[in-house]
């Protein structure tokens, strides 16, 4: 009970301080509009925020709070990186890109920077990584602890340690960018190709074509996507060895098809909104064909929403693949991939109390997944905000 009581006491204290804050503010500024029109909820919010900041500062100075310090430092480092990148973007580049960077929030510039770094790591993984992704390094022990501290079983040559087979984890983490991100990207592209083709065709042709595909998509969407993916992966895992096709290829197709249903919905909706426009009617009455309508009239007007959706879909596909891999039915060994790494290294989290750096390896792999999706989401959020702002 005691934590609940202390929380209650703290809240009451904050409530009292907030009232005093507003009252004193009104009195000392002779009712300036800022304090006069301040709702009590806002005053409460200010004080609550202040208290949270103080609490955070106190925690930061505690000896035991290693992870909290890492988190704060990491957050600050990301913020500074995003800020520097934005300054860079404001100075370098074409006039258009400079203008873009001027009105960009920090989250978006951080997102763009992160995506660039990931793309770089994915493309040049073979150059950056010190070892091969499935290279079992001779004469090196398995299960070297991350952190490079020999006292607890680390090795400075392997800053992130080695896995149970003696493969360098840093290299596998870098190759993970290539495999996990690359496969997710390919899958998303495939999903978009399928979804957009049928979505636009439905919007233009309407009638029975639209009916058949829309109903089919309704049914497919009634099965939760991860569940459906798991079901199909079960079947694929039987077929794959018989046909001699890697399971990963099946996974790409399965997830692409499942995800294309969502893309179809959006493409169809966007298409429908464009098809009712008078310029489409004008083109139809001119006698233009289907190809001209889709490629010249609809597609150019659908790029903005589709691009935003591409970002969101990529995140979704990426997370689905990571989850499948984490559950053991996704990307298959010997390819290095983040989801599998988390699963294999997860038990090290339990040693964090004794040596914080030991928990770093699984958290870094999981964090690598999270960081990219956060970055993409930040950029998409900014894009959507921009386009909605421009409309009004």
């Amino acid at each position: 009970m005691s934590p609940i009581v202390s929380v209650l006491v703290a809240l009451i204290a904050i409530a009292v301080v907030a009232w005093l804050f507003r009252f004193l503010g009104q009195a000392s500024t002779s009712n300036a509009p800022f304090f006069r029109d301040m709702p009590y909820a806002s005053a409460f919010g200010y004080i609550l925020g202040g208290a949270a900041l103080m609490g955070g500062l106190w925690l930061y100075l505690q000896d035991g709070a290693v992870f909290f310090r890492w988190a704060v430092q990491g957050f600050a480092a990301f913020a500074v990186a995003g800020w520097l990148f934005r300054i860079f973007g404001r100075v370098v580049g074409t006039q258009g890109s400079r203008k873009l960077f001027r009105s960009m929030p920090l989250t978006a510039s951080f997102g763009i920077l992160t995506i660039l770094v990931y793309a770089f790591a994915a493309v040049f993984a073979g150059v950056i990584a010190p070892y091969g992704q499935d290279e079992i390094i001779q004469g090196v022990a398995a299960n070297i602890v991350p952190g490079g501290d020999p006292a607890i079983g680390g090795n400075p040559d392997f800053p992130l340690g080695t896995d149970q087979l003696g493969r360098d984890l840093l290299s596998r983490l870098i190759y993970g960018a290539q495999n996990t991100v690359g496969i997710a990207f390919a899958t998303t592209c495939l999903a978009f190709f399928i979804g957009c083709t049928f979505g636009f065709l439905s919007a233009v042709l309407q009638g029975w074509f639209d009916q058949i595909f829309s109903r089919a998509v309704d049914v497919l969407m009634a099965i939760p996507s991860l569940i459906f993916a798991l079901l199909l992966m079960t079947i694929a895992s039987v077929w794959a060895p018989q046909l001699g096709i890697p399971l990963t290829a099946f996974m790409v197709v399965i997830i692409a098809v499942i995800d294309s249903t969502r893309v179809y919905r959006l493409a169809r909706a966007v298409g429908y909104n464009i098809v009712v426009m008078d310029y489409i009617e004008a083109a139809k009455l001119r006698g233009e064909g289907l190809g001209y309508l889709i490629f010249k009239e609809i597609l150019p007007n659908a790029t903005a929403p589709l691009l935003a959706e591409f970002g969101l879909r990529f995140c979704f596909v990426f997370l689905t693949i990571a989850s499948l891999s984490f559950l053991g039915v996704g990307i298959q060994p010997p390819l290095a991939d983040w989801g599998t790494m988390v699963r294999d290294l997860a038990q090290f989290v339990n040693f964090a109390a004794f040596a914080p750096q030991v928990a770093a390896a699984p958290l870094l792999a999981a964090g690598a997944i999270a960081l990219l999706t956060v970055a993409v989401n930040f950029v998409v959020d900014w894009m959507l905000h921009r386009s909605s702002g421009l409309k009004s």
């Binding site: 049914v219 009634a222 798991l230 039987v238 995140c315 559950l327 999270a370």
Partner: protein, 332 residues
């Protein structure tokens, strides 16, 4: 018959039809499997007699359409068939494969209950929290609070469930041992003990679901606050609280209910990963294990169960928004 009743009956029929088609899809997908289950259960060295016996036992020698209707008929009555894993075990043990312990229904039932408990705890925390925070973010939009909430929710939506799960384990089980990191739940546990062991997975799910729900609630409310009748209410000099309660809320109900139902449906997917991380004996973990074991009847049954829950929740959202629409409730 009223318009509303007619529309709702239509939706119910449509939901039932969807479920039926989904069951066909699931059944067909499973029947795409090559070769013979009996063979794969018993391995390469099995005698043809043993294979035939298993085939007959599992009804694999019948036509797929017959098997579908048998399966569906059974499913409607709560009989979801025999688990291959149990059958396999039974075959080796030499006992009767149709013994009660081997049925899918008996495997699923206790786990289903556990999952419902987990989902219930999550919903009890997440729904009020998310709606409250979402409304708050909409009212104080473009403030520091809103921006911080935006970053926080985006981050937690973007993170894979297992990342959040391990972070919570790290914080609340390893560094500060407040809650157990494994959720081994068994019969005859006291409620508070059970709650304690469910709390960590529930919190993980809460983080994800709350973020989604809060963003959607915020968007729905902002959309609503921009409508001319809200401006009209303000221009009538109505105080802000009354504008929210009297003018915004009745119209916000439909979108908010929609948001809640959609996110509870989302829980279904989240449950699979989170139960695996915490070794929570729910239906999600059973599903993943069965997938790995290729225990087809259990996979089928779980799929059907997940899909039914999903369809049911979407249907609820649909019907609720019809019910709360004054244009339909009071036709011309």
């Amino acid at each position: 018959m009223g318009t509303v009743t007619r529309i709702i009956l239509q939706r119910l029929a449509l939901g039932l039809l969807t479920l039926l088609v989904v069951s066909v899809v699931i059944f067909t997908a499973v029947n795409l499997l090559p070769g013979d289950f009996a063979q794969s259960i018993l391995g390469q060295g099995a005698t043809p007699e043993a294979v035939a016996a298993i085939r007959q036992d599992l009804g694999l020698d019948q036509h797929p359409v017959t098997r579908y209707f048998q399966w569906l008929g059974g499913a409607v009555q709560g009989d979801l068939g025999t688990s291959f894993a149990s059958a396999n075990f039974a075959a080796f043990a030499g006992s009767d494969a149709n013994a009660n312990m081997g049925t899918v229904a008996s495997t699923i039932a206790p786990r289903f209950e556990n999952t419902m408990f987990l989902a219930g705890v999550t919903a009890a925390i997440a729904v009020p929290l998310a709606v409250f925070l979402g409304v708050l973010a909409a009212l104080y939009r473009e403030t520091v609070f809103d921006r911080a909430a935006n970053i926080f929710t985006l981050s937690s939506i973007s993170s894979p469930e297992f990342f959040l799960a391990y972070i919570l384990i790290l914080l609340l089980a390893v560094l500060n041992p407040i809650l157990p990191s494994l959720s081994n739940i068994f019969d005859g546990m006291s409620f508070s003990e059970r709650l304690e062991r469910t709390l960590l997975p529930a919190l993980t799910l809460t983080l994800v679901v709350t973020a989604h729900m809060m963003r959607m609630t915020r968007a729905a409310i902002i959309n609503l606050l921009a409508s001319p009748y809200i401006e009209m209410a303000r221009l009538k000099g109505i105080n802000p609280l009354r504008v929210i309660v009297k003018h915004a809320l009745p119209n916000a109900l439909a979108p908010i209910i929609n948001v809640i139902a959609l996110n509870l449906a989302y829980l279904i997917t989240g449950v699979v990963v989170v139960e695996t991380v915490f070794v929570y004996p729910g239906i999600g973990q059973l599903f993943v294990d069965s997938v790995k074991l290729r225990d087809i009847p259990v996979v089928q049954a779980c799929c059907l169960l997940f899909a039914s829950a999903y369809i049911l929740l979407n249907l609820t959202a649909d019907i609720m928004s019809i019910l709360s629409n004054p244009r339909l409730r009071h036709p011309k």
